[in-house]
């Protein structure tokens, strides 16, 4: 018991702190309308002191976008509006916002607009800031190339319909060239580039550049500086299979993968051994799955055998 006391009732910082608490509480409980009502007042924080502004700029942007996702009457122009305004508010978040905005445009199917946005982002320079945000810049490059690939795919799709395809072929090739230039650069950086790798290989295969494709895939799978990624080996395996490689070679790839992976798996599973399997492989779930989702059960069963021998 005890009555909560706020000693000084009227204060900008106090008001805005409570406002943020209310927003957070509402969002946690999915009360989007309520959160939006408080969001009418929170943007004042941008006009506060310099520190308040800097601390809140990204937060306000993210909250606004998240709320837009959940409000029934939000429109694309609301998203674009907010993205544009927040982008030009400060150099530190320019690239981040550009990237997120392009993602949203992609989700809405506006590929061209997304690509244009990323192209603008690519050419953006701001002294030291460009250096410190180079990671985001790389992502922007990568996604722009991905969009090039998407457009390439679209054009490929139209190929079979017309007789005179030379124009389309030229278009396609220019997109391919743009994409490949950047992607080659991107792949030099350690990271998980699965969708990009797959897209690039597809294009290379179309143009019969098998040497390049193999090189890319091998580098991706076997380069130690890259984070361990089982998919890399899968891609290599699938490619080799497509190319009709010998079984011996295939199994060699898999074996390497398996050897590698046994170590890595046991490393990660060990600390979780006592609770993770119990959490995921209960008899209740098994019963439910056998009724509702037999496919899942088929997948889970062998895994369960591995993790919980004897159950």
């Amino acid at each position: 018991r005890g009555v909560k006391l706020i000693l000084v009732q009227g204060r900008f910082r106090h008001s805005t702190r409570i406002c943020l608490e209310r927003i957070r509480e509402a969002m946690l409980h999915h009360r989007w309308q309520e959160a939006a009502e408080y969001m009418v007042f929170y943007p004042q924080k941008l006009e506060g002191s310099e520190i308040e502004y800097r601390q809140n700029r990204e937060l306000i942007w993210r909250i606004s976008i998240e709320l837009l996702h959940h409000m029934p009457n939000s429109k694309l122009e609301d998203y674009n509006n907010i993205h544009e305004r927040m982008k030009h508010l400060g150099v530190k978040i320019y690239l981040k916002v550009s990237l997120e905005q392009s993602f949203h445009l992609m989700l809405c199917g506006q590929i061209e607009e997304a690509k244009q946005l990323l192209a603008i982002g690519e050419s953006w320079r701001y002294g030291k800031e460009s250096a410190s945000q180079h990671q985001t810049a790389k992502l922007i490059q990568a996604y722009r190339s991905l969009l090039d690939y998407v457009i390439w795919c679209d054009k490929k799709f139209t190929l079979d319909d017309t007789d005179d395809d030379s124009v389309t072929y030229q278009d396609m090739h220019s997109y391919f060239r743009q994409a490949s230039v950047h992607l080659k650069e991107i792949f030099k950086n350690p990271g998980v580039w699965d969708p990009f790798i797959v897209s690039y290989v597809e294009m290379l295969e179309f143009y019969d550049d098998h040497e390049e494709a193999l090189k890319i895939l091998n580098d991706y799978a076997y380069d130690d500086t890259f984070p361990p990624n089982p998919n890399a080996h899968v891609f290599l395996y699938q490619y080799l299979k497509r190319r009709g490689a010998s079984d011996k070679k295939l199994t060699k790839v898999l074996k390497v993968k398996q050897l590698n992976w046994k170590d890595i798996l046991s490393e990660t599973v060990e600390p979780r051994k006592d609770w993770w399997p119990a959490l995921h492989f209960t008899s209740f779930h098994a019963a439910q799955d056998s009724k509702e989702n037999p496919e899942l059960m088929k997948l889970k069963a062998p895994v369960a055998k591995i993790f919980c021998p004897g159950k």
Binding site: R1, G2, V3, K4, L5, I6, L7, V8, Q9, G10, R11, F12, R13, H14, S15, T16, I18, C19, E21, R22, Q33, A36, E37, Y38, M39, V40, F41, P43, Q44, L46, E47, G48, Y53, I60, S64, L67, L68, M71, N73, S74, D78, N81, I82, R85, M86, H88, L89
Partner: protein, 640 residues
């Protein structure tokens, strides 16, 4: 300088045949060579016009277009005068008497300007032009309280004309019109303690209200400010068009917080000293500021039974706090300016201690007995009261927080002093406005905005809680319950059943500033007592320490100063107050005879209070609150 007005007029002067016309302050054309005044007048459109002074109008600047952009020249004091009048108007609209605004506040402001003049005689630019806002013909008579104010108007030197214009022209940000002395207002010689600030507007209002013996206490005033019924945050936005502000003014006029109770109180004391006010008008028994009236009001506020009121009055009398003449505040005799609201609450708490005990034992035992008695529905039960209040306060605190979260602090107008700062601020303002309007649009459904607007969120009312059976009430009313089992009749005398009274050391400690050493004492105090302090602290919106200090002060008056054996710890003494009780008993007997009269008086006072609340609600037309908020039907509790 006057050429723009007189250039069109090319008639030669009748006396000297020169064509050289100027303008007198009355707007008449006069010949510059021979000072012959003719009938022709220019249209008086500038509000700097002041009949009676001998100054030549200074408004004419070089370019008329520039003048319109820059507005007219105005002093910081003018700005504050505007704000003060705005605030006073709001208070009058809420029910305060006009006498407060037209006479009391007016005179206090004059007095303040007069006194602060004397600090800056060597810099004429600093002089404030004290122009009465009201066009009352009585304004001259009103100045009688302020000594020598007629001569003071001559003190406002006319020489400011040229120096002021050049000052404004030379300013770097000549495109940013501002008050004349805004940038230098705070750096004046003679110290800054008597400069006008936004906080001081509240101080002046409070002073005026007390002087005019209005029932609006300091905690009421601050609550009204927080709720937005009295302009305070961003009042400068309502300045007339010609008074333009810039960055340097923002420091003076922009507020990001409402000052807490104790700060305003302290400044009131300072201001009283600065103004050298005489003894205040006495507070009569009938006035709303008298402890008896305030106590009644607070008793109603926290849903305590009316039967407690006679006991409260007795205690007041015993402590000599209701004596009109003795308690008349005189700055020369009394060092401390009284906290009228806190004092009333302290009296109630001491009465509660007498009747209920509040030592974590007695009150619960009597509650248990009350609930087991055959007439438990009509008997006041502290446990039930506690539960009601606790719930109500938690809900009210949540509401208060929600309102605080929805407060619009940042002004629409942009105040900036240079281009770069303005650009940055403008960009951020645009983004903020964009986001705000986006969400406003998204949250306003077909049922109308379910969120609150930026205006005042609660209808103005003296009371924060509503007790009764109506919709949206905080709980059932306990006002009509009796104090059976808490008071017993012994030989024709009514006495409190509880025979113990505890209190901490009552020695007046001069070393402590916030008094009472509350933070040290608090862990040793009974929880119920602490809760009661916190309850009233919430109602008044200040710290419990303040109330604790006042409670000790009242106890000192009732019980005398007692020093405990141990200096270090507070002790709970069981004091048999035969003397106090006997006296109370005797008075109660007399009161029982006059019981009907008392009740009638109480009813009348309550009705007046409720009328004030209802009237203000009616004036604001707030019988139906916006959707999503509590609905309060306009209803006066029927007679009690």
């Amino acid at each position: 300088m006057d050429d723009e007005y007189t250039s069109g007029f090319k008639e030669p002067c009748a006396q000297c045949c020169a064509v050289d016309w100027g303008l007198t302050d009355e707007g008449r054309f006069y010949c510059r060579s021979c000072h012959n005044v003719i009938e022709r007048t220019k249209e008086v459109e500038d509000s700097n016009f002041n009949p009676g002074s001998s100054r030549v109008s200074t408004i004419s600047s070089k370019k008329r277009k520039l003048k319109q952009e820059r507005g007219r020249q105005w002093m910081v004091c003018e700005g504050f005068q505007f704000i003060l009048m705005d605030q006073a108007d709001a208070l009058v609209k809420l029910g305060v008497s006009k006498h407060f605004k037209d006479e009391v506040l007016h005179q206090l402001w004059m007095l303040y300007l007069h006194r602060s003049q004397q600090a800056y005689t060597n810099t004429p630019i600093r002089s404030c032009t004290a122009r009465p806002q009201t066009s009352d013909s009585d304004s001259a008579a009103d100045l009688s309280v302020v000594s020598g104010s007629e001569t003071d108007s001559e003190m406002f030197p006319p020489s400011r004309a040229s120096s002021v214009t050049s000052n404004a022209d030379n300013s770097d940000a000549s495109l940013y019109a501002s008050s004349v002395d805004g940038s230098t207002y705070r750096n004046q010689r003679g110290g800054t303690s008597h400069l006008m600030t936004m906080k001081k507007t509240l101080v002046l209002l409070h002073l005026g209200l007390v002087w005019a013996r209005q029932g609006l206490t300091l905690s009421d005033l601050l609550r009204l400010v927080n709720e937005g019924h009295v302009p305070y945050v961003n009042t400068f936005q309502a300045f007339p068009e010609e008074m333009k502000l810039s960055g340097s003014d923002s420091v003076i006029f922009k507020v990001l917080k409402v000052p807490p109770y104790e700060q305003v109180h302290k400044e009131t004391e300072n201001l009283i000293g600065f103004l050298q006010l005489p003894a205040f008008p006495p507070i009569s028994r009938q006035s709303l500021l008298h402890p008896a009236s305030l106590c009644l009001r607070y008793l109603m506020e926290v849903n305590l039974p009316d039967d407690l009121y006679p006991w409260v009055c007795e205690l007041m009398k015993f402590a000599q706090l209701d004596d009109v003449l003795q308690n008349r505040y005189d700055p020369f005799l009394h060092r401390k300016f009284p906290h009228y609201d806190v004092q009333a609450v302290a009296i109630i708490i001491v009465t509660m201690k007498f009747i209920f005990g509040l030592n974590d034992h007695v009150e619960w035992e009597s509650s248990t007995r009350a609930s087991q008695s055959p007439h438990s529905g009509r008997t006041f039960n502290l446990r039930r009261w506690y539960r009601l209040l606790q719930g109500a306060v938690l809900r009210a605190q949540r509401r208060r927080d929600n309102d605080a979260a929805r407060k619009q602090w940042i002004p629409e107008k942009l105040l900036s002093s240079n281009r770069q700062a303005e650009n940055v601020a403008m960009k951020r303002k645009r983004v903020s406005n964009e986001l705000q309007s986006c969400f406003r649009k998204l949250t306003s459904g077909p049922s109308g905005p379910s969120g609150p607007s930026d205006g005042p969120v609660q209808p103005p009312s003296i009371f924060q809680f509503f007790w009764g059976d109506m919709d949206g009430a905080d709980g059932p009313s306990l006002h009509r319950q009796n104090l059976d089992l808490l008071v017993t009749q012994v030989g024709g005398i009514l006495k409190p059943t509880n025979e113990q009274y505890w209190h901490p050391a009552l020695r007046d400690c001069s070393s402590c500033h916030d008094g009472g050493h509350y933070s040290e004492a608090e862990p040793t105090l009974p929880r119920m007592f602490v809760w009661t302090l916190q309850l009233f602290a919430f109602v008044l919106d200040l710290t419990p320490a303040l109330i604790y200090r006042e409670v000790l002060r009242v106890e000192r008056r009732v019980l005398g100063t007692r020093t405990p054996q141990s200096r270090k710890h507070t002790k709970f003494l069981n004091v048999r107050l035969e003397r106090a009780r006997a006296r109370l008993g005797a008075e109660m007997r007399a009161r029982a005879r006059l019981g009907a009269e008392t009740r009638a008086r109480m009813e009348a006072e309550t009705k007046a209070r409720v009328r004030l609340g209802a009237e203000t609600k009616a004036k604001e037309g707030m019988t139906v609150t916006p959707q999503g908020q509590r609905k309060r039907k306009k209803k006066a509790p029927d007679g009690l």
